[in-house]
Subunit: 260 residues, 2 copies
DNA sequence: GAAGAATTTGAAATTATTTGCAAGAATAAA
DNA sequence: TTTATTCTTGCAAATAATTTCAAATTCTTC
């Protein structure tokens, strides 16, 4: 047998595979992972309890609710606009000075920030189609879109062109989302494709603001982005474990707690 | 048998197929999905209960409530839906081979072509946000977006980055619109910013198709794009001055007249 | 390290589901 | 009407899920 694999690693690869393909059969996975169908079935059943996928006959399907951080399903309105996100977003927007150059990623919370940012007449650099659309109606906001290939379900531009788009510019602030932030594990995100992009964003910005609601704190996603002490500013709702906040502040993170 | 497919996946593909074609037969689906007509029938009957489609004899029709175009925020103005444009667009789409690499600009007629092009599963390169949005719901279409600055009202990406985006690639066909075409004045367009872009598109494509309705023929806009003899293919409605058509053909233009 | 406990894995038997097929009924077309 | 499809229904074959159990692996503890 080939290099044996830990259960956790296997499940991670299943998750990864599903995020790309949306559907897959047990057989397919068992061949990919060199384990029996029984084992794959057990893994899948476990992953079902964590909510990342749904079972179907003969296979699994990516759970619809798994957004990228989550990146809005292409309809950014409606359900995604939770009061919590709205609240964090409003505060986050208040941190931006008029006329600043702002990088924004494809996260759903970031999209909410974008809506509150119109009055600041920013110059926006983004790889998010929804944000581009949002501003294309407002002349007051200058929007620079990176190139790239559209990642279907999510509406973000990915690939080398997108990364290159960020590597060529400099911005005052980057506003980003992520799937998890933990003292030990640092910042993590759900899609491998986003990591390169977000790294380029961080590099291009003088200041980085992470926006995420408290459910993301203490959690971790699949892919590592950066360590906790590399986070300059964090905006979240005040519903967080105070111990975690203290630990983050000790690491030098400027934590803003928004009462919601 | 080929890679077996999950029931849910099949149903999703039926749904997607219907969004493209609006109507299709069971036989057609059974061939597409490599399953028996019985199975397709069962799938269809299930989908009927979810409301995404209606049953007919021998086939299924997309439910009226389901917007064909999906939800793209940047809906081009109402004029886009004119029967004339629709008609030209449909014909123009028929000129494209399945799987071709297609450059599309931000013109409203071109947008209509884009809607008819989904079934050809093209690789699309565009600087148009509306087109990017349109396809972001369809996994079958690979969309490459050039970078650039959003030109507010039109939702097209402009500037050096956009031009560069086209200069790096090669495509089978470019489908473009313009503000005017005249034997003497050549092709002209309304926005200076678009000229550089369109020149880059023309350079990157092996074949160039101009789509414009007959009101644009004989007219001229402010900015010069290229001379008439540089136009390879023109698709327009048959309501044109025959003298003009003759003159264009004499210049080597392949004029397609669509009866509308 | 080795022995034993605990867990994980693969495989077999049983049960449940899905799929394809066929015969007669129903529907549309000629 | 006749004719040709398509639909329904029931059934058998194929496929997948569940349960169970033995072998293999990992984890303790010495």
């Amino acid at each position: 047998m080939l290099a044996s694999m830990l259960a956790e690693e296997r499940q991670q690869r299943i998750n990864e595979h599903l995020r790309e393909k949306e559907f897959c059969t047990l057989k397919e996975l068992s061949e990919m992972l060199n384990v029996s169908v029984s084992t794959v079935r057990r893994d899948i059943n476990f992953l079902k309890t964590t909510g990342v996928l749904r079972r179907t006959h003969g296979g699994a399907r990516l759970s619809e609710q798994v957004e990228i951080e989550g990146t809005h399903p292409l309809v950014p309105n409606a359900s995604v606009r939770s009061e919590l996100k709205e609240c964090i977003a409003r505060y986050c927007a208040s941190l931006i000075e008029p006329g600043q150059t702002v990088i924004m990623d494809g996260g759903s919370t970031v999209f909410s920030v974008a809506r509150h940012l119109v009055v600041k007449h920013p110059i926006v650099i983004t790889n998010s189609l929804p944000i581009s659309n949002l501003y294309s109606n407002y002349r007051q906001v200058e929007v620079h879109v990176t190139g790239g290939v559209v990642y279907p379900r999510l509406g973000v531009l990915t690939g080398p062109n997108a990364v290159e788009g960020f590597s060529k510019i400099h911005a005052d602030v980057a506003i980003m989302g992520a799937g998890g932030l933990d003292v030990q594990d640092g910042v993590t995100n759900t899609h491998a494709l986003l990591i390169d992009m977000q790294l380029a964003m961080i590099k291009a910005a003088r200041k980085v603001i992470f926006c995420m609601d408290s459910t993301k704190l203490g959690a971790r996603s699949l892919f590592f982005l950066c360590s906790a002490d590399q986070v300059q500013t964090l905006v979240t709702n005040s519903d967080v474990d105070p111990v975690l906040v203290k630990a983050l502040r000790k690491k030098g993170v400027d934590v803003h707690l928004v009462p919601c």
